[in-house]
């Protein structure tokens, strides 16, 4: 019946929210579970504001970017998938809710989710504290590394954010 009074700051939407994104670093947190798994992972980004960090053994960590975490505001609920789960690129492998928004987290790649971050379920606030480190959502054994070529690197992602910031 009604038009509601909520921010449409979905991850999947071209968010109109933060003007201040330029001050964020959408890079992995040093000395986090993601970086300590192996040296120099390849980091890529999606238009839905997910990041993926792929290690040499084709194990990848997936989460949401700092930009996205800020757009969400205080995270109140996180859902992750049971493991192991086969996933295709663009399939939902979790969801994240805040008082402003609720979104699915989509797998950037095809593969098998071999581990999910259960700690997030108990402490959703981690998404805001450390979105690109402790708040990884899923660990995926990727099956088609070529898919990474379709994703953005850090520079392209920053440019993408600028372009979509009205």
């Amino acid at each position: 019946m009604l038009r509601t009074a909520f921010a449409r700051s979905s991850l999947a939407m071209r968010s109109r929210v933060p003007m201040a994104f330029r001050f964020y670093s959408n890079n992995l947190t040093p000395d986090s579970p993601v970086t300590s798994y192996g040296a120099d992972p390849t980091v890529r980004y999606t238009e839905n504001h997910e990041w993926i960090a792929v290690h040499k053994d084709n194990v990848a960590f997936v989460g949401i970017t700092k930009y996205a975490a800020d757009a969400l505001g205080d995270t109140t609920f996180v859902e992750v998938v049971e493991t192991p789960t086969e996933t295709e690129a663009q399939e939902s492998i979790g969801s994240v809710e805040s008082v402003k928004s609720a979104s699915d987290l989509y797998s950037p790649v095809t593969g098998t989710v071999i581990e999910a971050n259960e700690e997030l379920v108990n402490s959703p606030g981690l998404v805001n504290e450390d979105p690109m480190g402790k708040a990884w959502f899923a660990k995926i054994q990727i099956s088609n590394p070529a898919e990474l070529d379709q994703l953005m690197d850090s520079d392209k992602y920053e440019a993408f954010l600028k372009e979509n910031d009205h």
Partner: protein, 975 residues
């Protein structure tokens, strides 16, 4: 003059008729003076209009309108509404009496989900007929909504207590759509991998029809009847009715176990009244329980509106569709209620949403909640025991001559008779309606309204004699053993004095249109006039069963036909369906009609729906529910549809294009000049055009969806046509269609609707044939009171009021979107993002407005960090100025932060709103005075509305979800 007409031919005839223009001032002393238009429009004085035009820099209303609405859209046809100049209030009531007298109110024992009920008059007068309850909005601003939020918590508690489930929502539209939500939750819960859904034959046919409609878009296969071997493999779940449609009370434990063994979800549609004396569905393994609370005090109203309920186990509470009221705390740590988990569904998830439910039936849920508060557990049990005892006694009488087919019952007996028609005819002669199941079977359902005389008449009808007295004797196979409703609220307001004071205490916490304007953009909070509300509680409108024979409801038929014709005229279309119970449901219905039409042309593979990124989230959600694939269309930085992108997408998908959904004026509140071009592009690529009617208040009498070139639109009768918002429902969302779509409007299994005759109707979208028929007298009355010219004048005043406010506020705030002449439509967006660097956000200004005794405009929609203001035509110049003055004063408060005089965290904005406790208790050590907090402008000393709590903590509420009222008197410490 008032003859009912058939849609299309009549409309063509009306178009060609010359209609006399309305007279604003009568010179004939015989003309009545109690005219309505001047009471409806807040500004009708020429002096005021001229002053507003001057501020808006326009020489005349005509010139002004031309600067707002693109000239090629302005139509020249006068609306064909009769009477053209509108009825006076007295004339209107006389005409309504005449219509009402054509409805025959017989004693209904039809049942089938709709029962007579005794609405306590203290609730009728002080809630249903009380503008403080019915004119408030959905409680998105919890600090000024604690009254109805508490009542809705009572409602949720009522539902969880009686069903035995853990969490309930704050109501859905009707039982059938609630069942559909349960089916979809079952399907989606298993990742859409098991498409079969079993519906037991115990389930009402009206529910089954809606399930089929909703299943079709998602690829769910509805199977009627449970599998014989109880093997549910491959299915996502099943639905049963408890007690069953035939009256019997089934034993369902084995079924539940079998469903669970196959991984499915077990849903029970249960009668809450029965649950006061039979075991609740939680005891035999229900995962979801749905139903209606209609018989808890809500009149049948020829089908609605009533509140449906939906309850689940704790483990799936975050998947619950619809609104949920939860408990949180305010800045001072006090208990405060709020709408919880508001972000899960279509608002944000758009085409990923699994439901487009965007509303509730708050007013009706509140009636049912107070009904339970007033009767308490003992009273409710007594009512149910009486119904059951009388049913048992009736069964004994009937059994002497006929066979009662169901061996157990709560309130319904299915009886085998030699000739159903003979006994139905006999019943009619006694003023009684039964339900005919087939040629040799009828059913009779009792309720709390049954009198000694009714009972005697029923006994006589079945050839027996009523006993002198009937003992209270509960006769059910599984009597309820558990206690319920032990919470204090259900046990202390049983005298009328106490209840009246409780209701008054709650209503005093809620800001409604009885307090001040509610300038919510896209919500159209206009006057809900008393004269429009009066008829809905007349027995001739309130006490009719939706399945009553058509020859007993001729008054309704006449009113419905006139309303359908008037709405079709207003929208420039050929036919109307009043069945959808909300705007979102209208969207779904309109898209289903488009799909059926395309299929009939052999173009069933067309399944792409184009939707601008600026659209309301229900649009993509509705398209997804129809099985359409959503392709977003970009908007330009000015907020207009990007025609280049549209052209490219339409071309790319030309073989599969089904439709576009557009809102007009746009969700940004602007009449886009390119709308016709956009429509042409879609038509030329084989698509249909759906127009979202949310902003119809800017169009009436000036242009119309049909004249602009659309094929179908929905209307929000609760926005544009005066049905009150009810504190969060009811809503009514009819659709109007061009003639080629008319055969595809929804049908109904029980009542032959015109669309069905044409043989191509889609299945029902609501349980009742005309949806919420009981409140259709409201829009009918509005249209008849205003007349064609009056409706046009309301649109003009709405546009002028918005532009007047925009001009006043543009000196102080950034206004985000306007057309090339600097005009907004009926609403405008104030951009607050520039203040974010100071720490000041839209929510601070929204909360501070409460200190000024105003409800905030729509916050952060359609653009985050903004407020969207819609004054409507019903506000006076004084009220428009009062709001502008408040906004300007708040701008000064922001400036203090800008100038470095105050830190944001110390500011009056950061602490807003201020309730009395905040100002009076404890030491005052803020950097601003108490007076500045509570009385920042002088007029507040005369007229102040106090928020009852301070700012409510959203994060706490969503992290610690608690959705029922406290079991003990004292509130637990939240920390």
């Amino acid at each position: 003059m008032f003859r009912a007409r058939t849609a299309l031919a009549a409309r063509l005839a009306m178009r060609t008729r010359v209609v006399m223009p309305a007279r604003s001032l009568s010179t004939n002393a015989l003309d009545p003076l109690d005219t309505y238009k001047r009471r409806h429009n807040g500004v009708s004085d020429k002096k005021d209009i001229d002053a507003m035009l001057k501020v808006a820099n326009s020489p005349s209303m005509d010139e002004f309108v031309k600067s707002v609405v693109p000239e090629d859209l302005l139509f020249q046809r006068p609306l064909a509404i009769e009477p053209a100049k509108g009825f006076s209030e007295t004339e209107l009531l006389a005409r309504l009496k005449e219509i009402a007298s054509k409805n025959k109110v017989l004693r209904s024992f039809i049942g089938r989900g709709y029962y007579n009920t005794l609405l306590p008059l203290v609730i009728q007068r002080n809630l249903l007929e009380n503008p403080q309850w019915y004119t408030s909005y959905t409680p998105y601003q919890p600090e000024i909504s604690q009254g109805r939020l508490e009542s809705l918590i009572n409602y949720q508690t009522l539902v969880t207590e009686l069903t035995g489930m853990d969490v309930a929502n704050a109501s859905l539209l009707d039982e059938a759509t609630a069942a559909a939500e349960a089916m979809i939750m079952s399907f989606v819960g298993l990742n859409r991998k098991k498409p079969i859904y079993y519906v037991d034959e115990s389930v009402y046919p009206q529910t089954r029809a809606v399930l089929e409609t909703r299943a079709s878009g998602l690829g769910i296969q509805v199977k009627y009847g449970l599998p014989e071997d109880n093997n549910f493999e491959g299915s996502c779940g099943a639905l049963i009715q408890y007690p069953a449609a035939n009256g019997s009370i089934g034993e369902w434990k084995a079924t539940a176990d079998a469903i669970h063994a196959a991984g499915g979800t077990f849903t029970v549609a249960a009668d809450l009244m029965a649950l006061t004396i039979i075991e609740p569905p939680s005891t035999f393994g229900a995962d979801i329980v749905v139903g209606t609370t209609q018989r808890f005090g809500v009149p049948m109203g020829y089908g609605g509106p009533h509140a449906a309920y939906f309850a689940v186990k704790d483990s799936v509470k975050r998947k619950l569709p619809g609104r949920i009221v939860g408990k949180s705390k305010d800045r001072l740590g006090n208990v405060a209620y709020r709408l919880a988990l508001q972000t899960r569904e279509q608002h944000i998830r758009r085409e990923k949403a699994t439901s487009n439910i965007c509303t509730a039936q708050a007013l009706l849920a509140n009636i049912s909640a107070f009904y339970a508060v007033y009767h308490g557990p003992e009273g409710l049990r007594k009512i149910a025991e009486r119904i059951n005892s009388l049913t048992t006694a009736l069964a004994q009488v009937i059994s002497e001559k006929y066979e009662v087919l169901n061996k157990s019952w709560f309130d319904t007996l299915t009886v085998s008779v030699p000739s159903a028609d003979a006994i139905m005819t006999d019943a009619l002669s006694k003023g009684i309606n039964l339900y005919k199941i087939d040629d040799k079977t009828v059913s009779v359902s009792l309720d709390e309204s049954v009198t000694t005389e009714d009972f005697a008449a029923l006994c006589e009808l079945f050839g027996g004699k009523a006993p002198e007295a009937v003992d209270y004797a509960v006769s059910v196979p599984c009597p309820r053993t558990s206690k319920y409703l032990q919470q204090p609220v259900f046990n202390k307001y049983h005298s009328e004095t106490e209840l009246l004071r409780y209701m008054t205490q709650l209503q005093s916490k809620d800001l409604s249109l009885a307090n001040s304007m509610i300038p919510l953009g896209s919500c159209t909070m206009k006057l809900n006039a008393t004269v429009q509300m009066v008829p809905i509680t007349w027995p001739e409108f309130g006490n009719l069963h939706p399945f009553a024979p058509l020859d007993q409801t001729k008054g309704y038929q006449e009113l419905i036909t006139e309303l359908e014709n008037d709405l079709a005229d207003i929208t420039g279309f050929a036919a109307t369906s009043l069945q959808p119970n909300s705007g979102a449901q209208g969207e779904f219905t309109g898209l289903q009609a488009i799909k059926a039409y395309l299929k009939s042309k052999g173009e069933g593979k067309r399944n792409i729906c184009l939707i601008p990124v600026s659209a309301h989230g229900t649009n993509p959600a509705s398209a997804a529910m129809c099985g359409m694939k959503v392709v977003p269309i970009k908007c330009t930085p000015q907020g207009e549809l990007d025609l280049t992108d549209l052209e490219a997408k339409a071309e790319k998908h030309k073989d599969d294009l089904a439709a576009i959904m557009i809102t007009y004026p746009s969700t940004f509140g602007v009449f886009e000049p390119t709308v016709k071009k956009a429509i042409d592009i879609v038509h030329s690529h084989g698509g249909q055009v759906y127009m979202d009617g949310a902003n119809m208040n800017a169009q009436i009498g000036l242009t119309s969806p049909g004249d602009i070139g659309a094929d179908v639109c929905h209307l929000n009768l609760h926005k544009t046509f005066c049905i009150p918002h009810g504190g969060g429902g009811p809503g009514v969302g009819p659709i109007c269609v061009r003639s080629h779509l008319a055969p595809f409007l929804p049908a109904h299994h029980e009542i032959e609707l015109p669309a069905r005759e044409l043989g191509q109707a889609i299945e029902a979208v609501s349980a009742a044939p005309w949806g919420s028929a009981g409140i259709l007298p409201i829009p009918w009355a509005y249209i008849k009171l205003m007349g064609g010219a009056g409706l046009k004048s309301a649109t003009e005043i709405a546009l002028l009021s918005a532009n007047y406010m925009k001009e006043r506020l543009a000196n102080h705030y950034k206004v985000a979107y306007v057309n090339n002449q600097g005009r907004c439509a009926h609403e405008f967006i104030i951009d607050l993002r520039p203040f974010k660097a100071l720490g000041v956000e839209a929510i601070d200004i929204a909360k501070r407005l409460q200190d000024y005794s105003f409800h905030a405009p729509t916050m952060s929609w359609p653009v985050a960090g903004t407020l969207m203001v819609e004054p409507t035509e019903s506000e006076s110049l004084v009220e428009l100025d009062r709001f502008c003055d408040a906004m300007i004063a708040i701008r000064e408060e922001i400036k203090e932060i800008e100038d470095g005089k105050v830190a944001y965290t110390d500011s009056v904005l950061a602490h807003a709103p201020h309730n009395q406790e905040d100002l009076l208790l404890g030491e005052w050590n803020r950097v601003y005075s108490r007076e500045k907090a509570a009385f920042p402008v002088p007029n507040l000393k005369e007229r102040k509305f106090w928020p009852s709590v301070t700012r409510v903590d959203d994060t706490y509420g969503d992290t610690n979800l608690f959705c029922t009222c406290d079991p003990v008197e004292a509130h637990a410490d939240l920390d």
